[in-house]
Each structure stands twice: as C-alpha cells, then as structure tokens.
Amino acid sequence: MTWADHLVIAPVLIPLLAGGAMLLFEGRRREVVAGINALATLAQLAVAIALLVMSTQGSPAQTVRVYRLGDWPAEFGIVLVADQLAALMLLLAALLACAALLFALAYWHRAGSYFHPLFQFLLMGLNGAFLTGDLFNLFVFFEVLLAASYGLALHGSGRARVRASLHYIVVNLAASSLFLIGVSVIYGTAGTLNMAALGERIPALDPSERGLFEIGAAVLGIAFLVKAAAWPLGFWLPALYAAASAPVAALFAIMTKVGVYIILRLGSITAEAGGGESLFFAEGWLFAIGIATISFAAIAMLASQDMGRLAGYSVLVSSGTLLAAIGVGGPGMTSSALFYLVSSTLTVAAFFLLIELVERGRTPADDVLAVTLEVYGAEDEEDPEAEEEVGVAIPAIMGVLGVAFLACAVLLSGLPPLSGFVAKFAILDSLLDQHWLTVGGTVSLQGWLLLLVILVSGLTTVIAVTRAGIRAFWTFTDRELPRVRGVELGAIALLLSLCVALTIQAGPVMQFMRTTANGLELGRPYIGAVRAQDETSPSQPGPAP
Amino acid sequence: MTPLEELPLWVAILVSALLILGSGLALFGSIGLLRFKTFYERVHAPTLGSTLGLFSILAASMLYFSIAETRLVLREVLIGVFVTITTPVTFLLLVQATVYRDRFEGSDPIADLSPERRTVKTPSDPHP
C-alpha cells in the first residue's frame, strides 16, 4: 500500500488523533489546542481535496477507492469507500468546518469547555459516516457524530440550549434504537452488514425473508429521516439550531445532510435489487415526505419571528427539497440535488453565522452563563473570558452585514444571482426533463406538486427573510453596533464566496455532479469496487512484520 | 472434560446434594425476605443464601470441576471470600440507613439502649 492509499482513512484518523491529543491538555492551553484544531481541520480539507481529485481521475473502477480496515476482506471486515459522492461530502464538511472554526476562534470556543476536541470528534463522526461501507459501522459513526453534536449543542450551556438538547437527545436516542433494530433485522435476514454485499444478497432472499428484510429497511429508513429532520420527525431541529452557538449551528448545517446522504447511498445500492426503487422507502413515500417537509417548513418560516428559528426552518426546507428530489430519482435529478445540497448547506451555515453577528448588538450575551463556579480538577478558575468584549464596533459594520444578509436571503430563497437560484432552477429543470423523457411532453401531478411547492417555498422564504431583515437592518432602535471581529466576517465571507464560486463555476460543478450521480446509478460502480477487492486480493494471513 | 453421565456416582450425588442444599437455602432466604414483618428481621433472611447456600454451591462447583477436569479447581474460593467481605458493607450501611430514617421519622429503634438497658425488643411491625 502506498501512502496515497491510506488517504481514505485520514479523514477519520486525523480528527481522532487530534481530539485525543487535545484531551491530553485537559482543557488548558487553549491556544495550543486551538492550533491543533486548526491544523487538523486544514489537514482534513487538504485530504478531502486530494480524495476529490483522485476520485475524478482514472477509469470508473479506479474512482471508487476501497480501504479494507485491518486488511480483512470486505465481505466480513469493515471497509471504507471513497467515491466521488463521499469525497464531495468530505469536502463540504471540511469547508464548513474551516468557516465554523474561524468564526469560533473569535469568541465562541471560550464559551465552554472542550470545544475543540468536540469539534474534531464531530468531524470524525461526519467523515466516518460518509466513508463507511458497513451498516453497523455507520451506526457507530452516527453515534460519534451525535455524541459530539450533543456536546457542541450544549456548548455554553444555558436554559434554551439545554432544553433543546434534551429534546434532541431523546428523539435521537429513540431513533438510534430504530437504527439498531433495522440493522439487526437486516443482518438477521441477509446475514451481512456490508452495504455492497447487501446489494448482492437481497435478490437471493426468499419471499418471507425479503418481507422481513424490508421491514428492517423501513425501520432503518425512519431513523435516517429523523437525522434528515423530515416532517413530522424534525420538530426538534429549529429550536436546537436556534439555541446552539453560531459556529456550532453552522457546522450542524451538514448534519441533516448526513441523513440525506445515507438515504441516497443506500437507495442507490439497493436500487437494482428493488427493481430501480430504493428498498428503504416504499414507492412515493420519500417524495411525499419531502413535499410535506418543504411545505411545513415554508409555512413555519412565515410563522417564525426569531431569526435563529427562521434559519432552522430553512434547514428543513433544504432537507425536504433534497428528500423530494431523491424521491423523484434519476441521474439528472440526483446531480441537481447534489448541487442544491452543496449550495444550501453553505448558505445555511453562512446564515447561522451571520445571524449571531446581527443579533449581537441587540441582545446581551445572556445566553452564556456567567461562569464563576470552580470546577473539578481545576482550582477556582474564574472564566475571565466570559466578561471580555468580542471584537470592535466598526462603523460601516451594518452595511457589511447588510450585504451579507442580502446575499444569504437571495441564496436561501433561490433568487438570482447566486447559486441558490442555479440550484433551484437545476432541480426544476431536471424534474421537467425527466417528465419529458418518461411521460412525454407533459407534467404529472407529482411534477406539478414539486414545482408548486418549490416555487411557493421560495416565496415564503422571501417574505420571511425580508421581514426579518427589515427588522434587523431597517428598523431604527437605538441599538448598539454589534462588535465584530475580522475573522468572524472572514468566516462568513468564505462561505458566501464559495457560493459565488459555485455560481460562476456552475457549469464545471454541475458536470462533476453529473458524473457523481452517474456513478451512483444502480450502485454498480460502488458494489463492483467493493466486491473486486475480495476477488483481487484475498486476505493475507499471517502477521505483519 | 468429562460429560455429566460419566461422573462417578458418589460425586454426582454429592454435587446434587450440595446444589439442592444451596439453592434450597437461597430459596428459604428469599421466602424469609418476603415473609418477615419488619425490615430489621428481613435483613437476616438473605444471609442464608449468601453464606451456607453460597458455600454449598461453591463446593458443588469446585467438586464438580475438579473431578470433571481432573485437576484441583479452587477459584470458587475467591467468590466465597469476596461475598463474605462485601456483604457486611451493604448490610451495615443499609441497616444504619434504616435506623437513621426511622430516627428522622421520629421512631428511633435504638434510642432506648443505654448501659443500663442493653436490649430493646421490637415485637411488632412499626411500619404496617
């Protein structure tokens, strides 16, 4: 194995080791720890880019890189699989992480203990979930990312955070139980946990086993829908995201996408066995749930006064749009959905960061508990930072924030000129393309529904976001100017400029999404690559030197 | 490893007797736990299982495995020692806690003990 081969494991290993190393400092030496975090995050970004580049080069079989952990055959060991989709998600996560970390370094990382290790562990969970090719291992990484997300959601403590986290935890614990039930039923019927092997095993099941398998798959699907916060399973999300500290909420923007990613991945792997349909969702259900989610979130955006909640519901809109798009299916639609996924994730993240800056001048930092209590292991350590002011009041700051807000509003509602428009257009265009192909020059009820819901959700977003924006920027109360640090603006600028880049480079990006989506078709390249591992290099017994 | 059927009869009988004695004592102890009227009386019951009951079964196990594996098996002794030294911790604290709770509720069962009065009889159930 060359060192390049080991790159696949790096997105999991780097955060693991970084997190472990940070813990050796026991929460002291924050600068050093922050430095480790920054290095680790940048390293992950570099690895993600490298994997992405590698996934686009070579023959179709070469683009899917399979990493056999412990050198055991994929059939019964655990494999990591890095294809274009996984690399894309890794990159997205790393980019969000860079922005969130940049933002957090100005202030938020001091609002509680162990921000940095938790941050890295969240990335580890995310990266692992994107890479793993084993269903139970997926459960483990889900738990890693959930556990870290609990920690980060609670970062800074305070009543709203604890309450929202409590709901989040209970719902997700229940969902984890469903996950386990689903996975174990799948093992109990198909006898394997390897995703690729599953794709091959399903056709061999007898009808009764097949029925049980589908029950397991359906239960598992519900667990994913909870992660994706689909209606009616995602009511915990807006409160949680609104309560979480800004960089955390920004990083969380990708969490619902993990659910979506898995639905997409498993759907593609089982599609062939399911006769083109994902086995995880009975026909039409995913689409219906997506539509319901968009509709609900669109209405809820109108009904929310608080900007954090607004942003939370916009996460739901994006989640619902993706579910509906995946429910429609087809490579064209999938590629559009992927474009939308990237664009909406970056946008929502930027929006969460921005909201905090905008609101900063308005509310005292009462959400951060004044910390005066001494703690175990550390002597009477009064957190001096908690009192410290963040940043300086720049005169033109409201203008800068206003421009950023406008950009976010435009992106969220899918108005031109930014990538939100391109994404929305791409989805609608693919929808119509597909109808033109299948139905032949007309649009089915399903198509009209999606068209309508997407357009109307755009409209309600416009109304809701303008209302919030006007209240924040155009209503004169004698508010103090928010004190903002350059890095905080830098983080937002990073995310927004990525959106701009996405707009300008829409063609190449869409081309990439196309090849990604083609690679997902019926899961063939994926299954092929994993199975090929077992054939070409049987397990090599004996000790390593 | 000798299967059950091939054990010498005396061993089988001895092991069986020890097993029944031990489990019977445990059962008696648990029945006592159900039947005794006050907490202070109930405390005595489970000791049946954790002393002689336990020792019997441990002996059965030692005997059985020593014969079956044709070597001296003594590790069961450890369980006996561990249980014997840990049970007092539980019972001491539990009984002490009960005394405190009774005292807190105004009925100190040992309040009347003094150098002059060295025993207090508690014939009826204070907490029916």
């Binding site: - | 004592l25 008696f28 102890g29 029945i31 006592g32 039947r35 005794f36 006050t38 202070y40 009386e41 405390v43 005595h44 019951a45 000791t47 049946l48 954790s50 002393t51 002689l52 009951g53 098996v73 003594l74 590790r75 002794v77 450890l78 014997t84 030294i85 049970t87 007092p88 019972f91 001491l92 009984v95 002490q96 005394v99 069962p109 040992i110 003990l113 003094s114 150098p115 009065r117 060295r118 025993t119 207090v120 009889k121 508690t122 014939p123």
Partner: protein
Amino acid sequence: MSRWLPYPLISVMLLITWLLLNQSLSLAHILLGGMLSVAGPWFLLRLDAPRLVIRRPLAILQLCAEVAVDIVRSNYRVALLTVRDKPGRTPGFVRIPLRLQSQYGIALLACIITATPGTSWVAYDPDRDILVIHVLDLIDDDDWGEIIKTRYERLLMEIFE
C-alpha cells in the same frame, strides 16, 4: 521492607488471589502476580489503610472453625423460622460494649456477625466502643453480648492485638 512492601500480608493474599484467578502456578503468572501484589498495596498506603499485623496466625483457624459451626447452626435455625415462624419469637436490639480496638478485627467481626444468620450489625460507635446488633430471635438478654464477647472478640483480640 515497609517502603516496598507496606502490607506484606496483604501482598501475599493478593498473590494468592491472582494465582487462584488464573488457576495457574506458572512462573509467568507468579511473576506477574507478584508485581501486581507489590503494586496494589501502594495504593492502600496512599489511602491511609491501617497496617495489618497478625499476632497469632493459628487463632485464625480456631476462629474459622467456630464461625463455620455457628453459621451452619444459625442457618438451620433461621431457615426453620422462615418456613414456620415461632409464635413467641421476639426480635430485638442488643448493645455490646467492645474492647476490641483493631480496625481489621472489628471489620472481621462485622463479617462474622453478618455472615451468621440471625444476627446483624446495626451500629458501631468508635468513640465509645459500643456495638449495637439486631437479633432475630432474642432468647436471653445477656446471652448475645456474652456470645459475641467470648466467642469472637477474645479470638479477634488474640489475632490482631
């Protein structure tokens, strides 16, 4: 000696424990068990455990024998009580002044009293050296105090003091 082996007796017991656990007398286990048995008591030292000294090891055997007999006897008696309660049985508390000072001795006494069905340890006041036990079937007032003192306390004092 005291620095490296602060509790030699305990070290020996630990080594025996290790060998029993592993059911082995191999050199590897003796070495490993020995290391653990030396290291374990260091923690006891840190935890301020009192030194364990045994004056009359042989008395232990005597104690064991007596306790074994008592346990069997009282098991039988209490087992009967659990099935068919004696009508006139009177449970009660007994106050016993102790002369025994060794902490290990008192702990062992607690083990014995607890292990004997029919008696249970209720309270011990280290300031006044007074022990209170509960007796399931209080036949005679002075009986229990004497039994404890003569049968156990004496032997325990011989062993530990």
